[in-house]
């Protein structure tokens, strides 16, 4: 018997290949962008964008097809889309998933559950929250030669090279499932016919509870991670100064000595000055030292503001809880939430300006 098994395995392998229908990539309807809006009576309205690649002479011209369906569950959105499309729907190339703000404020838990379980989906996918209908963003953002997913991924990716903290589905899920850490997502809105990414949507577990505006974004990012890009415009005396970050370092420290632990966030910011406008004073070492101390107080107040907002809302996008747990023996998970709101968190900022250009 065992002698025949050696022949059975390859035989079965060859026979079983008939069980899978195969389609060439051009025969599929490839969903690249999906958006979810609240529908009527607890239903979900799903909108997908499917690019149509045109062969022959005009190769660069890409048309896009938009399908909007109402469904009672997330999975049945895909099913309903299939009812309206002649080709087999393929969801493996999904790049961006958008959620309407209303859904996000209610609860995204179910969506995250379905998305995180689907093995066809990429973890590099971007998730984002939109102000207003996702349908209008998906249908309104298309430009010639660029699909909506190209546009949205480009927008988010390039902002991650600037002042937006790094985000994708992997990051989102990791902070969503972690203890003592809350997630955030890009917050998109449509201004006339342009999609704008200027805010951050902050989540308490699966519920969106707050947003951070453009001028808090940079502070949030330097509090969260080390990076070496991004510019920021700051007020100084009667004019403005454009500061470019060339490498920051953030360190969390925890002091266990008291009953209530206290946190210290040490922020070192190395920067160069790009532009000075409206300041009637020769730029020299003295002015720079003045600037440094001025900006230090600015960042200190700004950071404290942001952190007190987090504490007030009971969210922890910086992951202080996770940090504290990793450094505390006999850590009690159920006491942390109550503790977090009252913990003193102090921020120490040191700004050093390395370059300010040649001035006479």
């Amino acid at each position: 018997m065992s002698k025949h098994i050696g022949w059975c395995v390859p035989f079965l392998l060859i026979i079983m290949t008939g069980c899978i229908p195969t389609y060439g990539v051009e025969d599929n309807a490839i969903i690249q962008t999906a958006g979810y809006d609240p529908g009527e009576e607890n239903e979900i309205q799903g909108t997908v964008a499917i690019p149509k690649f045109i062969g022959g002479e005009e190769k660069s011209a890409i048309e896009e097809q938009y399908v909007t369906v109402s469904a009672s569950s997330i999975k049945s959105v895909e099913d309903q889309v299939q009812n309206r499309i002649s080709q087999p729907v393929s969801i493996g190339k999904l790049n961006v998933t958008l959620f309407n703000e209303e859904l996000a404020e209610k609860d995204l838990g179910q969506f995250i559950d379905v998305l995180s379980r689907d093995p066809r989906l990429s973890r590099n996918m971007f998730l984002a929250v939109t102000k207003g209908n996702t349908k209008s963003i998906i249908e309104g953002g298309h430009k010639k030669g660029e699909t909506i997913s190209d546009q949205l991924t480009g927008l988010i990716q390039n902002n991650m090279n600037n002042d937006f903290p790094s985000t994708d589905m992997h990051d989102f899920l990791s902070s969503y499932f972690a203890f003592g850490k809350d997630s955030f997502l890009p917050y998109l809105k449509l201004e006339e016919d342009k999609i704008v990414l200027e805010e951050i949507a902050l989540f308490d577990k699966s519920k969106m509870v707050a947003t951070l505006s453009k001028n808090e974004m940079f502070v949030f990012r330097i509090l969260k991670e080390n990076f070496n890009q991004a510019m920021e415009t700051l007020n100084f005396k009667e004019g403005t100064v454009v500061l470019e970050n060339i490498g920051n370092r953030v360190q969390y420290r925890v002091d266990h000595r008291d009953a209530l632990p206290s946190f210290t966030i040490q922020l070192d910011l190395k920067a160069v000055i790009n532009e000075i406008r409206g300041i009637e004073h020769t730029v020299d070492k003295k002015l720079i030292t003045e600037m440094e101390s001025d900006f230090e107080t600015y960042y200190q107040t700004k950071a404290t503001e942001v952190i007190s907002l987090f504490q007030e809302k009971g969210i922890d996008p910086l992951g202080l809880g996770q940090f504290y747990r990793s450094r505390t023996r006999n850590f009690k998970e159920n006491e942390w939430d109550a503790l977090y709101k009252n913990i003193p968190i102090s921020v120490q900022v040191s700004v050093s300006i390395n370059e300010f250009g040649i001035t006479t």
Binding site: L13, I14, T17, T22, Y23, G24, V25, E26, N28, I30, Q32, P51, F53, I54, G55, G56, K59, S60, I62, S90, G92, K93, N95, R120, S122, S149, D150, T153
Partner: protein, 499 residues
């Protein structure tokens, strides 16, 4: 019934019917180029030789003239009178037959019935030594082996003025009686390997050995493998450098290709150029060549697998290019690939049959023309055309022709695997070939050597080539009794003086 069986069991392909010298001469006389005539004298003697094998002028000047002038009575006197070296006097029929068939002249005397004189008068007609065409290199020696064993051994000998260089000849092939020389350096080559080669050569039972490739197939440890297990080269310099490493070279009379054994799979991808260029350049070029082989084997199977099963692997930016080039094609990717691969194979076969090397170039250009027409007609996509053309180009980078053919062939199982099971199929076929390579041996030595078994020391000249001043030792593969190439102590002393 028994008669029929006896016929099948017959051992020798030709019946040895000649039992006496007269019989032999009678058989030979049936051919037009066999010359025999009487020289007169007392007692009268006869000279016979094969005109097309011997030098007639030479026989006239150095054999017939001295015999005519002097009055000679016995064969012994004749032997002294003829001013040719290596004259043999014998009465043994087998020796007479062997020598006459390679161009010796035979002298019989009526006075001495049994004994005959055998005078060497073989003419070594051969093509001039030309330049290497298959393994061409821009720098380095240009000489290549020719069809004459005599000349080929000369090419090796003059590069190795060494008394320890041993050349052992065997005759193989019951009908062709081809001379096969086993060359090695005594004291550097492993005697076990030499013994194995000689034994296997002796055990060959076949009627004809036309070319050294016959020996490659007959000596192989696994004759069903698509991989050649003996390295063939037309460059004497390459043969010599492997001899010095402790390998064994087999040269077959009538074949311009010498065989090198034992060898490893990476040696098939190393060119002589690698040793003529500075080591870092050589390393990069060798790595490019190895990458080209992988690309050539795997690119079209990956195309089939990704386009049929794994759309997610296509980058977003490439999606539009691939999909729009595929959208008008009526075939699935597998058919498209098979059509184009077959077209390339047809062109290659046609190119190989064309008279000159230019034929091959024309074939490739023709391929591109046909390919472009196929794209315009909407039969294949232009992305695939580029992939197939590049993979064909990549398979030409192999310095050894034999392994190039193997690479040509093993692409097809990969394509079939890719169509049946996608990337898993490619992995399965890869595992199959890797298992085969790991198991394979060349004259008893592991074929996949520096990688399996892992011999760190031999990696110095496998995927990379380190500078000569690091390569102190001969490859472990040959298990040479004399391991070190240089006297390391003396090297160290010389360095100290320099500094």
């Amino acid at each position: 019934m028994t008669k029929w069986l006896d016929k099948l069991k017959r051992k020798e392909p030709l019946n040895e019917s000649e039992e006496t010298l007269e019989d032999l001469l009678k058989t030979l006389k049936k051919s037009g180029d066999f010359i025999t005539y009487s020289l007169g004298g007392h007692p009268p003697c006869t000279i016979s030789y094969i005109k097309t094998l011997s030098k007639s002028d030479y026989i006239n000047d150095f054999v017939i003239k001295p015999l005519k002038n002097a009055k000679l009575h016995s064969l012994k006197e004749m032997e002294n009178a003829i001013t040719v070296e290596n004259i043999e006097m014998t009465d043994e029929l087998s020796i007479i037959k062997e020598k006459i068939m390679i161009g010796y002249a035979l002298i019989q005397s009526d006075a001495d019935n049994k004994q005959v004189l055998l005078i060497p008068a073989t003419s070594f007609e051969s093509r001039q030594v030309g330049t290497a065409e298959v393994e061409f290199s821009v720098v380095g020696p240009k000489e290549a082996f020719v069809e004459s064993l005599h000349l080929n051994i000369n090419l090796v000998r003059k590069r190795l003025p060494l008394p320890q260089l041993r050349i052992e000849e065997q005759k193989i092939g019951k009908v062709t009686n081809t001379r096969v020389a086993t060359i090695f350096i005594d004291g550097i080559a492993n005697p076990d390997n030499v013994q194995t080669v000689k034994q296997r050569l002796q055990d060959i039972e076949y009627d004809q050995i036309i070319d050294s490739s016959f020996i490659t197939q007959m000596l192989a440890d696994n004759s069903s493998s698509p991989f050649p297990q003996l390295l063939d080269t037309e460059r004497p310099d390459r043969a010599v450098s492997t001899l010095v490493e402790g390998k064994i070279v087999i040269i077959v009379d009538g074949s311009p290709q010498a065989l090198i054994c034992p060898t490893t799979v990476v040696e098939f991808f190393s060119a002589s150029d690698d040793y003529f260029l500075p080591w870092h350049l050589a390393t990069v070029f060798r790595l490019i060549r190895l990458f080209a082989v992988l690309f050539s084997v795997l690119s079209t199977p990956l195309y089939v697998a990704i386009l049929t099963f794994h759309h997610e692997m296509i980058p977003r930016e490439l999606m539009a290019t691939i999909v729009s080039s595929r959208s008008d094609i009526p075939f699935p990717p597998i058919l498209e690939v098979i059509i184009l691969e077959l077209a390339i194979e047809l062109l290659r076969e046609a190119g190989a049959r064309l008279p000159t090397k230019i034929g091959q170039t024309i074939g490739i250009v023709g391929g591109i023309v046909i390919g472009t027409a196929a794209v315009d007609a909407g039969l294949t996509s232009n992305v695939l055309l580029i992939i197939v053309a590049l993979s064909a180009l990549a398979s030409f980078t192999t310095p050894v022709y034999q392994i190039g053919n193997t690479i040509r062939l093993i692409r097809f199982p990969f394509i079939i695997g890719a169509q049946l099971w996608g990337l898993v199929g490619i992995a399965m076929v890869m595992i199959f070939f890797m298992g085969h390579l790991i198991k394979l041996k060349s004259i008893g030595s592991p074929f996949f050597e520096p990688l399996y078994p892992l011999r760190i020391q031999d990696l110095k000249d496998a995927f990379i080539r380190l500078p000569f001043n690091i390569q102190f030792k001969r490859p472990m593969l040959t298990r040479s009794p004399d391991q070190s190439r240089v006297n390391t102590k003396r090297v160290k002393e010389k360095r100290d003086i320099d500094e």
